[in-house]
Amino acid sequence: MTGPTGAAPLRVEWTRWGRAAAPYLLPPLIALVLGAVIWEAWVELNDVSEFVLPPPSAVAQALFSDIGFFAQEGLRTFAVATAGLAIGTGAAILLAILMAHSTTLERALLPIAITVKVTPIVALAPLFVIWFGFNWEPKVAIAALITYFPVLINGIVGFRDVDPGALDFLRSLRASPREIFLRLRWPSALPYLFAALKIAATLSLIGAVVAEFFAAGQGGLGAVIDEENRLVRLDRLFAAVVTLAVIGVLMNVALALAERRLLSWHRSTWATPG
């Protein structure tokens, strides 16, 4: 294939992607810019000290003057968060499948799941460092622990909330439980699982950052925030927070795009609110 003919479809592809992503990217960007303007004006007008609240311009300068560093630390945090999200979500889905099929199992396991959930993550984090060492393991474990709960709860409901008529129909053909799960329960649960995943994605970042506070050896945005706080370099602290926010938004955009693709049959994706 020659150059020009190869380039044209690529551009079309990008335009289409931009058009698909714009409704997700533009509103938060506009809100963000508006917030920054108000913040800047407020700091400027009230003459707030930069040791109390740096203006967004200072934060932006701190961020872009050391963008490589923040990107690298951000990637570390992102890796921990995604690994935790994958493990926490996977475990929660497996548990939810078991609990959706057996009320006895649900009664046995749900109180334990709630107990683990209500235990403050900051109380567990030092313990996890003792148990799993100072590397990535305790961080991923904490991110997983903080993400499993919404997925578990939504999963139990999702796997059970199937059309009773469709269930009757499949049973009248003696479909096996496995067939009923694959043909009916799993697709029925997907809207619930996506809703939970969006919550869990944000939580996984919080989990990763909290974990990095306690196991600071490997860096990450949590360690950066902790250190800059101690050094009272608030512009760099905020730059780390902004990096974190960008990662969170990107994760949610990715999930929203995947959801739109996979759940085009579901009324939640037809999106005409109001």
Partner: protein, 281 residues
């Protein structure tokens, strides 16, 4: 009228009953929902159970489909147990809601029965899905998802989905109750056309047990109407409908049709409700 066979048939001769319910009883806790149900549906026969809401019609149908175990009595489906009929994919179920899978298009919804319980013996998936799509009038909508279809079209898909395994017994639970009146009347005669033309129908049409609260619908469809009394559901009366086939929408204005409707109405009125009937222990 159904003639209960008093003398047992010779064991070698296959029973000509597609469905035999005898003395079927159903209790929900200490509330009796169905009592003393004796229904025999012969092969090729179209039997309609008519009764008011809450008389246990749906429960009756789910018992026949093997989806709900009765509290007493015996159920024989196609000469065996309801379980065996399920396992052999010999039942076709159509419910009040289309109960289609919203993530599958029309063709894929109709193909659903083929994709489950593949070990079933017998003539599984004997019907050609494409021919069924034409039969129920859905050409051009093969790739449409259910939410793009009207209620009537969704029920056509549900009907085709039930027919794709070429069932020996079609069980229909108020399939047109959720439709508007115009569509409902149209679907009645569509069903009769499909019933007489469905693949595998051959010399004898398919056996149907159809449940409804509409007297007109019952008379228009049935070879025989079974009238159910409410709370607990009991068989109040049976009536053969001798109107000639094929039946057409215009026949509903014929004196013979209106007369049959009046007689079924009268049977429903004389079926007394028995309030607060409890199981005596």
């Amino acid at each position: 009228m159904a003639q209960p066979t008093a003398s047992p048939a010779p064991p070698s001769a296959p029973s000509d009953a597609a469905l035999e319910l005898s003395a079927v009883r159903l209790d929900y806790g200490d509330v009796r929902a169905l009592d003393g149900i004796d229904i025999e549906v012969r092969r090729g026969e179209f039997v309609v159970v008519v009764g008011p809401s809450g008389c246990g019609k749906t429960s009756l149908l789910r018992i026949a489909a093997g989806l709900l175990p009765p509290s007493g009595g015996s159920v024989r489906v196609l000469g065996g147990s309801a379980d065996a009929a399920q396992a052999g994919k010999r039942l076709g179920l159509v419910a009040q809601t289309p109960a289609l899978l919203p993530w599958r298009d029309v063709r894929s919804n109709i193909a659903l029965p083929e994709s489950v319980n593949r070990s079933a013996g017998g003539p599984a998936a004997a019907a050609d899905p494409e021919a069924l799509i034409r039969l129920v009038g859905l050409e051009g909508f093969e790739r449409a998802r259910p939410h793009k279809l009207s209620g009537g079209m969704q029920q056509r898909v549900a009907l085709a989905r039930a027919l794709v395994v070429d069932p020996d017994l079609l069980l229909m639970d108020e399939p047109f109750a959720a439709l508007d009146e115009i569509t409902r009347e149209q679907m009645r005669y569509e069903l009769l056309r499909v019933w007489s033309q469905a693949p595998g129908a051959g010399a004898t049409a398919k056996t149907v047990l159809f449940v409804t609260h509409s007297v007109t619908e019952a008379v228009a469809l049935a070879d025989r109407v079974v009238v159910l009394s409410p709370r607990p559901g009991r068989i109040a009366a049976e009536m053969a409908i001798d109107l000639p086939r094929p039946r057409r929408p215009d026949d509903e204005r014929a004196p013979a049709f209106l007369d049959a409707v009046d007689r079924v109405r009268a049977l429903l009125r004389t079926a007394p409700p028995e309030p607060a009937d409890r199981v005596s222990s």
